[in-house]
Symmetry: C2
């Protein structure tokens, strides 16, 4: 190398360093604006083994205030993970508004590795790619900024780096058998990485960076990130427009058309209850062994009898294998994240039954009617919820949704009964009366919800509950029927 | 059996059933009062394999509203668990105020099994027994009701039940190899269970129940539980009295005695910083491989330079192996639990470094001075915190605590600088000025804290930070020194 060349290189190097410093300073200044604007930022860092992901992340965070960012890595707890949907750990980790979450590898590596190891079929892989696209879109539409980086190195460079790491006692352990395998299968991995990026880069683009030049890569990443944040701060929160995908919808009646007269005698009830509960208890055993996750969703009018209905389902279940999740209004840390987050984090393990007492459908009922979200938000939710439920059924879950239905007269009678019975008074609040006044608005919202979200994989059932006994027996029968089908289909 | 005997038995049986129903009704009614009183209730159900723990829990919960109770079981995620202190999953699961948490086996089975399997030494077992006693006392002193049940069956009865379960295809899977091993080693297990109960039953008693009579056992459990709740509702929240245990305390100077003049030149700083950070980076690698957890606690005056100090520690660390946890004021779901809960749930995995930016010492500083807890509460906290930190060091953690120290003049100068520099203004709040006025009160509280909680296993270090450069170098040196010692001692 001539002296001039050397000088040029030196000059280049110090220019890069100055640039890096300036960009870091910029990001540091942006932290406050991100916080003030309540902007959540996701940085996904993917790439080859030994490509320098750790170093890049270090460069990004080095000047940041720890209150405003986090790094999440998902290389642990393989047992726990295998019992949840594959997106589960990534959905758990989404940042709060005003914070940056850096994913040190994430859903891309997860999908690609599993395919390469043949732990999932090609068909399953396709589903996952679709799921990833839906997940990313939902986050973007919910106001998340997403930056996706892939650090690329050539096979020769990877070889050099792996050799260097292995030569040094202190770094030798960093090279895993998996890394060596990736290196041997470099060509196949490249193909798969590229095809994954092609399939998931249309809406939220991938940025492929040259990992052989570390400082340049760090500059590029920081420049992309700060540029993206600048733009978002200028334009304000992105709100996705609603659109409808063609999910196979089941035809549902309007609530007004439902005949609420069905009833059972005490004797019919007692007999059937006993028999059905016994059967449900048996099925729970099988579900548990076959590791089928079950999600039962309860919605319905106030005083329709959700609680008693749930208890009749829960009674025969082994308490180690089921959980009831009551859903109240969201807490601050829940409001600070995409609205489905608090449901992602409450999912059951495989083999367990989870009963949601009220659900994510709050979005298109109370949140819609009380103005807790924008019109775009709740209109978008029909499709987002259909996707979310498909993620659950793709994972293997049985998802059943019950609308516990009564008429206004019955509600009034039950309200009055609650008011006049001391031990029931706590069940009745001012809000119940207020909601009652909005019955027609709710009815409209419920009708729309039933029309738009009763899918083949996650159907709605209207449960006539003017007679609670009838309602309980009907629900039990539906659950038993669905579990039997699920068990049969997985022999 | 004579006819009369039969009739007596029948009568006994239906009397029991009626009693059970009445007790369930009572508990159902108590739910509201528990909620209103903000009383948290823990029911620990332990016992022999096949003793009927599941059935008992079912009886307890069958009439409860799912909003007010939960059942937690800890038979999963062995990998995740081995990377945290053994109490971790149980501490995670403690209920919120106003709720009941039922532990379907817990810390007793955990300790006994591990000892029987020889996965822990006798010495380690003793430590765990002590830890359990401390954990239970801390919860009780924090207002938790704790009911501990052990369901007992004879070896012959266990044999019968195991045989019955194995004969039936549907229940066969419920008998694990571990259960059979317990049955073979029945005598040894009995001895260990009994000795565990003796060692942990003095403060919060164990109730041993005859598992061979299921309805009677359920009645007994419900009667104990409802009786305990009645008493607590009558007497109001229990508040433990402060007391001091003799932890080996290190002698600490008063803050006023600390010489704040030490300083470094820019050149000294740069040189040492580079070298020390390099060393810390190397040590992080070793820590990671040796799976040593590291907990660094930062407290200090406003504007003392905590943030910058933390960043100098974090800079050389691999982002996959460390985390900074900024501690702000507690959120509602955190306030609803014992005050250490939000720290239990933020512990690092083994091999990881966790830097707490403010800590559990808020209890004896801001919470004490602002009256967010009672005098008994914060006075009790010195001992509780010493115990908590010993739980961490018993687990194998390196725990270091830094008080970042400046004088009042330096603080004023830095406040003014912040006020006059636009990009620093966000760092200065009205509260900072208010806290500054309370300097003498805080100084007194800090002095007391340093005297009472600087233990050999988790020492405090006062970091002179009028010169931030000096402070950073000193902190780095302390961390490096402690890590080197920890690594050496675990060769």
């Amino acid at each position: 190398m001539s002296k001039e060349e050397k000088e040029t290189r030196q000059g280049e190097k110090s220019r890069r360093k100055a640039e890096l410093k300036a960009l870091r300073g910029k990001l540091m200044a942006q932290q406050q604006e991100i916080r003030a604007a309540g902007l959540p930022v996701i940085v996904l860092v993917e790439g080859w083994a030994a490509a320098g992901k750790g170093t890049l992340i270090k460069e990004i965070i080095s000047e940041l205030d720890p209150r405003f960012y986090n790094v999440t890595t998902h290389r642990i707890d393989p047992e726990a993970r295998s019992r949840y949907p594959f997106l589960y750990p990534y959905a758990w980790a989404v940042p709060e508004k005003g914070k940056i979450m850096i994913y040190d590898t994430g859903w891309m590596e997860d999908c690609v590795r599993k395919l390469m190891r043949r732990e999932i079929s090609k068909e399953e892989y396709k589903k996952r790619v679709r799921t990833v696209n839906e997940f990313e879109r939902q986050l973007r539409d919910g106001g998340y900024l997403i930056l996706k980086l892939f650090i690329d190195i050539e096979q020769g460079e990877q070889k050099k780096r792996i050799r260097r790491l292995r030569e040094n006692f202190e770094t030798e352990w960093r090279v895993s058998a998996e890394d060596l395998w990736q290196h041997r299968e470099y060509g196949l991995f490249r193909e798969t990485y590229e095809s994954f990026m092609e399939k998931t880069g249309k809406r939220i683009p991938w940025h492929v960076m040259d990992g052989s030049k570390k400082t340049a890569a760090a500059c590029e990443a920081l420049s992309l990130l700060t540029g993206m944040i600048d733009k978002a701060l200028e334009k304000g929160r992105f709100v996705g427009k609603p659109f409808e995908k063609d999910f196979p919808l089941l035809k549902m009646p309007k609530l007004a058309e439902v005949d609420l007269s069905p009833a059972l005698t005490d004797e019919e009830y007692r007999e059937q209850l006993k028999e059905l509960q016994k059967r449900l208890g048996q099925l729970h055993n099988i579900i548990y062994r076959k590791k089928i996750p079950v999600i039962l969703c309860y919605e319905g009018w106030d005083a329709a009898g959700k609680g008693g209905n749930i208890r009749r389902i829960a009674r025969p279940l082994d308490p180690r294998g089921f959980d009831v999740k009551p859903i109240a209004s969201p807490e601050p840390h829940e409001l600070a994240r995409q609205y489905l987050w608090r449901f992602w984090t409450r999912l059951p393990r495989t083999g367990h039954i989870c009963i949601f007492d009220r659900t994510w459908y709050g979005r298109v009922m109370v949140e819609r009617l009380e103005g807790f979200c924008s019109e775009d938000d709740w209109k978008r939710a029909y499709n987002e919820i259909n996707e979310f439920e498909r993620h659950l059924t793709d994972w293997g879950a049985v998802v059943l949704k019950f609308w516990i239905h009564i008429d206004q007269d019955t509600q009034l009678a039950r309200f009055n009964d609650r008011q006049n019975t001391p031990e029931k008074q706590w069940k009745l609040t001012e809000e119940d009366w207020r909601n009652r006044e909005k019955w027609p608005l709710y009815e409209e919202a419920v009708n729309e919800m039933l029309q738009k979200t009763s899918t083949e994989n996650a159907p709605w059932f209207i449960i006539e509950s003017n007679d609670k006994k009838f309602a309980r027996i009907k629900t039990l029968k539906i659950v038993i029927d669905a579990l039997e089908k699920a068990i049969d289909s997985r022999l």
